[in-house]
Each structure stands twice: as structure tokens, then as C-alpha cells.
Amino acid sequence: MTPNATAKLIVKDLRKTYGPVVALTDASIEVREGEFLTLLGPSGSGKTTMLMVIAGLVQPDSGEVWIDGKLATYAPSFKRDLGMVFQNYALFPHMTVAENIAFPLRMRRLGQADIAREVKRVLDIVRLPHVADRLPRALSGGQQQRIALARCIVYGPSIILMDEPLGALDKKLRDEMQLEIKRLHTELGITVLYVTHDQEEAMVMSDRICLMNDARIEQLGTPADLYFRPRTLFAAGFLGESNILDATVTAVENGRAVLRLAVGDDALVRAVARDGVKPGQSVKLMVRPECLTVLGQGERAENEIQAGLKDVIMVGGITKHYARLPDGKEVVAANLTRGPVAQAAAGEALRLGWSADSSVLLV
């Protein structure tokens, strides 16, 4: 019955309701040793509920939680041996930094000398050896964040949970702390389950991302998986920009689906097929803006479509072409800016092209 031993954390079929409101359902994940896994989703998607259940701060209605090979579904949090970094850090305001970091060691009945040594060790790791005797409120937001991390890593928990830990920091500090957390993750080999609503943060930091929506897991995979192979409209829309076209499947051959677009000149386009698509089925076709190119005279592409140019915007290194399809739908192509070229005028006809590999079918 004990599942896969290399998994640090296993969550099976978790469900939690608050009265009539379903906060989390059908949630199953496995976090491998040393992995950085992020729960990503909009607010109310169930990511924090899942984290709270794993931390033992909320009891689930059903399902199982296994930590380090031990069943812990309803174990109290002080018995789980995990670390948690809260959004507001939850540093104890009446204790000094050193006392805060010593707290988990004291709870584990370590000797004074060991405690002092360990506190010093982790303060060095987070590069704040000089703040030991200060109270948390005398520290800046970034420093408090580091102390909260230090308090977690000092007792070597089997997994560290982080609940939007960078939410309260400004942009610059956030970027800095992202790298700092990444550094600690690789240097110390810790296993991290991270919660955020910021897709960029999730992409930067994670080995895998668990995208959540409406109390369920939407898709679980590497950042590249989620970005280039989203399985649902929600996944495609939540991470990055996307162009969505309606289409009907006409044939499936050699791993490719042949589609007729709902718009345009009945042209057939090709896309990577996915399991279970059948001819006659209506689907959505997703292409990332950076995979769409504006085709010049005589240039050809695997898939092509006619459109009218609406607007051209140069954003530094990237130039965006906003175009309108014959049915009025808007698409955008984002390509590297190639020198000061003559601006195409609005209303001008153009052809957009993309490869079959970059076309994703959504159901």
C-alpha cells in the first residue's frame, strides 16, 4: 500500500468543502525528492487550500496525504516535520531573530550549544549573520523573508511549503528573492512545494508546475510543457499570450491532425494531434504569438492564413503585429524586431504563417 518511496510527498484524491463551497477536489500530486513544484492558479483556485491540508492546518474531507512515506492525512502539523513559509512570514514579533530560528530546535529539545551553532550556521547560509539579536520588525521585508526561510531550513524538514512568500515584496526585491530561493533550493537540495498566482514567478523557479483552476488540478507538467503543450483553454490563457482559432478536424494521420479553420478561405492547416481526436470533431487551435510570423513576398509556411493588419507596436526587441481575421477575430504575432523597417499600414493585407509543431489542439 505504501506508494513510491522516492516521492517526498504524495497527495491522493484530496477533497475539501466549506459548506456548499468546494474548495478542492480530485487533487493528486507527487513531489519527488529535491524537486521544486509550484501550485499556480488564480485566487480561489484551491492552491492555498491544498497547501494548508498538506501542512496539517486544515483537515480534508477525504483523500490521503503521505509525507516521507508515512500516512499523515490527519496528523497534527507539529508531527509532520515539514517547514512552512507564510506570506506575511509569521515571524514571532516578541522574539529576536536568533530566538525565532532557535524555536523549532527548542521544540525538538536540542541542547543550548547545538542550538547556538545551528542558528549561526543558517544565518550564514541566508547571508544575514549580523541580525541575530534584532527583533523582526527592525528588519526590511527582504530580510524578514530570509529569516523566515532560515527558520525553516534550520531543522531540515523533509519538505518546505511556501505560501506566496514573495507577495508582499516589490518587483525588484521579488526578482532578487526568486534567485535567492532558487540558490538555496539547489545548494541545500531541499524539496519545495511553492504556491503563487504569478505565472512568471512559477516559470522562473519551478521544476514542475501544477496549474490549478476552480478547485481542481488543470494540468501538471514542466514549465515548457505548460507553455507549449497546454491541454485546456484555461491553461493556454493563464500562461503567456495565446491566439485561439476555431477549427474542425478533417483527418488524423501520422501524429498530425488536419484541420479546417472556421475562418478564412477553407484552407487546411496541420497541428500536433492529441489522443482521442476524431475527424468531424470541433476543436480550438492555439498558437503562441511568437510562433506566428508575418510572411513576406514568396515566403511559405506549413500553415498559413490571410488577415488584415490592424496595428504594429514595437516593444523594444519585440515587434507585435495585431491583425484581424476575416471574421473579425484578432490575432497577434510577436517577432524579434529586425532593424527599422518601413511600417506596414493599418488595413494592409498580410499573410501569417506558423508550423504544425507549434499548433496545439485544445478541447
Binding site: E64, A75, P76, M107, Y155
Partner: protein, 596 residues
Amino acid sequence: MAASAQRARPAWIGLWPILPALLFLGFLFLYPVAQLLWLSALDKASGDLTSAHYVRLFASPLYVKVLRITFEIAGWTTVFVILGAYPVAYYLATSSERRRNALMLWVLLPFWTSFLVRTFAWIVLLGRNGAINKWLQALGITGEPLDLIYNFTGVMIGMTHALMPLAVMTMVSVMENIDANLPRAASTLGARGGQAFWRIYFPLSLPGVAAAGLLVFITALGFFITPALLGGRLETMITQVIITQIQTMMNWAFGGAVSMLLLVAALIVFYLYDRALGMSTLAGSAAASQGEGRPNPVARLGAWAGGHVLDLLGRICDTVAGAWERVFPARPDRPRADRSRMVLTAVVALVIFFLAAPTFFIVPVSFTTDAFIEWPPKFFTLRWYQAYLDSPTWMSATVRSLMVATVAAFLAMLVGAPAAFILARRSMAGKTAAMALILSPLIIPRIIIAIALFYFYARLGLVGSSLGLVLGHAVIAVPYVVVTVMAVLKTYDERLDQAAGSLGANRVQTLWHITIPLIRTGLIAAFLFAFITSFDELTIALFVSGGLATTLPKQMWDDSLLKVNPTLAAVSTMLLVFVTALILSAEYLRRRAAAR
């Protein structure tokens, strides 16, 4: 023109709204109290300075003994109040907002119910022929009726009951500001419930405990209703002595000296509190530890010792919990029942029952056909209500109370609300001093204000006048108004006013169209607080009414000194209904405003 537009107005001109409050309290509170204290150092005949009254005070073992008893009663009351109020406050602060508001109502209800009514209720319950003795005998637990009243027990029960709501409210305001994530963090870091509570939550809630203890102690020092009605000869408190000296003996100077003693006692307690914790903790601001590190070696030693005591408490709790777990092992595959929360809920239910239930025992007694208060009452007659309605004394007292309370509340609003605006929004020199002056009528034992006003009024010919009562009641209502309005303004987004200004509204238009509509419920609540404060007020009325213009509480007090009779129960019942209706409508208004 251009020059005057460019010249900035001096900052103090903008502070004028606080002036009425300062002048009002300076004239009707500070000056009379100072004069009373001055009087206590004067020889009655010659007008020379003398310490004779103080010498007499300390020479007589009687007064020293009364002072000791007063401190003992106040001290024990504080202990019992804190022990009972802490679990309630903790429960309220850690409950959902909905439940907190619902339960808070049951704490507030006794708070706003007249001390007199509540004391009468205890007479019904605790008397030799009271409800509790009757039940104990009926159940065969005791053969003889127990002495629950006219002794220390009775005074303790009555005073603990009277002051617990104040403590609950003070502590809740501190505990609400404790981050709910902190105990959770402690738990994920490996702390069991006991350690998480005693090492994290409890130290952070201490400022609230200290503030509540201080307010309860100071208020208890000035009590006289409860010891007079529920205590025996041995439970005579200092305020009773003051009243006797002045009302019966007409010995002003000596009464003043005893008041001075009470005042000094109160101030010493305040001073010690300020040295130990700082006054700012009274306003509900968070933890006590200041700045970086810990200040001095004594505090460090205290912190060290305190830490060990808390650690010990935490371990004891966790050992008990651990033993329980060995007997009934928790299973990781079954939901946990939160046993400590269940125990807490039971304790809180008991305390809230103790707070809310007794008052209602006054109701059945008001329908008894007996001529005196006895349990069980013999039903059913309305003749006590009839007696109340037919009595011109009761009727005129009721009308006067309603009138005085209304006018005093308006006056307190007029004086207090503008001051609250300044104190909440502007920085000014001497703000702490201004705040201290405005709050001091709450803190100084009320008997001192009452006597000071009596003496002051005597020379102005205001004794026995409704105007005198109105002014006196407004003095004690102003702090309530200021505190309530300040609390509302704290949550008010001042940028709304700035937006109105940028859209072309002048100050008055902004106030009228934007600010007042948005804080209206807060203003109504402040008015109600002021109204009830005056309506329920006995101490000032006792002196200032001069036996002529009696108010409802004064009439009840006079009546109860003769004999606690069913008419009083009838009046109390009506008061209870009236105040409950007021509280419920205030609560309804608040909820409606919150829902918007």
C-alpha cells in the same frame, strides 16, 4: 490678495475643533477636581493650609483598614475577572467574524445593563431565600441555605460579573491584532498546542491582559453599589466612606482627603503600569517589547524567568495532552477532533452564561404577588408595574433621566466628535496630554468627579438642577464619544475627503456630503454609548441631584437602601427591555452598514 493666498495659515488654527472638548473638560472636570483636592489641604475654619485631615485619615485604624479592604477586593476582583475573561476573549478573537459579533452581543448586553439592575438580580439569585439556595436545597445538596450574600463571596460574584465585560472587550481588541498565522507557524515548526499557546500567543496577548487588569482594578477601587448591596459590614469600600462623610457628616474637607487618597492610589497604579508596560498598550497597540533587543538587566532577567515559566506551562499542557494521546492514540487516517477547542468552548459557554443569564432572573420576580423578593416568585400580578406607572416620583425620575440622557448625549457629541477628528487625523504638539485629559474622566474614580462637581455646583447654585446633571453626565460621556468616533475614523479612508476636495467641495460640503454619511453608524453608536452612559449613571446623580431632581438610577438606589422590593424588579425589567432594544438596534444598524 495674491500674498494672502500664498501665505500658509499657522498650523494651530486648523486645530480649533479640539478646543471645545479641552475647555469643557478643563472647566467642568479638571478645575473642580483640583479644587476638591486643594480643599482637602485647607483648615475649614481658618482657611490655612493644614495636613490635619490626612493625619486623621492615617491615624485612624478604621480608614487604613478600609483602604486595605478596598485594595483586597479590587485585587481579587481583578484576578477573577481576568481568569474568566481571558478564555472568552481568546475564543472571540479566534472565531469567525460572524460568530464573534453574535457572541459579543451577549458580552455587551450585561455591559450596558445598569449596575443596579444586575446587582438586584444577584440579590434574587444569591439571597437566603434566593433561587440558588432554593435549588440546592431542592436537589438535596445542602440542608441549610448557604450564606452567599452580604459577605465577601457576594461582593466577589457581583463585582466579577459587573467588570468582566470591560475586560473581555479590552482583551479582544488586543488579541484581534495577533496574527493568526503565528500559532500556525509555531505548529509547523514542531510546537504542540501547549507550547504554541504559552510561548507564542500568551506573551503577545499580555498587553491586553495588563490593560484589562488595570482598567478593572481602577474601576473596582471606586465601586460602591455592589459592596453596599451585596456585601456585609466587613466589605465596606473607600467610596462608601466618602459618601458617608459627605452626605451624612457634611464633612467636606475630610471627604476630600479620602477622595485624594483614592485618587493617589489610582494614579500610583497607573504610574507603575506605565513604567512596566507603557500607556500606549492601553489603546490596544501590539506587543510590549520596544525597539531593538531588550532594555535593561532587570527586564532581561524578568524575560528570562518569564520564558522559563511559560516553557514550564507549555510542557505541563503538552504532557497532559501527550498522556491523553497515549491512552487514546490519534490516527493519521481519521479526522482529529480538536479537544482543546471543545474544552475551551465549554468554558466560554459557562462564562457567557454567567454573564448573560443572571440579569433575566429579575424578570419573573417583577410579576410576583409577594410583597418582597423571594424565589420562586408567586405568579401573577402586574401591580408592581401599576405602582411604578402611578407613582409621580418614579414617573418624574424616568422623564428626567430620558431628558437628561438625550441632552447630555447631544452635548457630548457636539464637544467630543470634533475633538475625535483632530485626534484621529492631525498631528499636534501635546496630543498625548490632550488625549489623557479627554480619557481621564473614564479613569479617575467617578466618585471624585461627583464630589468635585457637587462642591463646584454648590457655589454656582447648580445643585439639584437638570442643567447640572446634563453637564456632569456629558463630562463622563465625552471620552466614550471620542473613543468611538476615533475608532470609526481609523477605518475611514481620508483620500475620499481629498477626492471630494479635488472635485471642488469645500470643507463643510465634504464633511456633510462625504464624511458624515460614511461614518453615520459610528456616530449613532457614539450617541447611544453616551446616552446609555448618562441614563445608567448613579454616582454623579447621587450628589448633583441634591435629593430634589432625582433620576431613575438615583430613585432605584434610594429605594433599594430601604428594601429591595418587587417594584424595583418591575423598573429593572423595563430598563432591561429598553436597553436591550437600544443595543439590538445599534447592532442592527452596524450590520446593515457592514453589509453595504
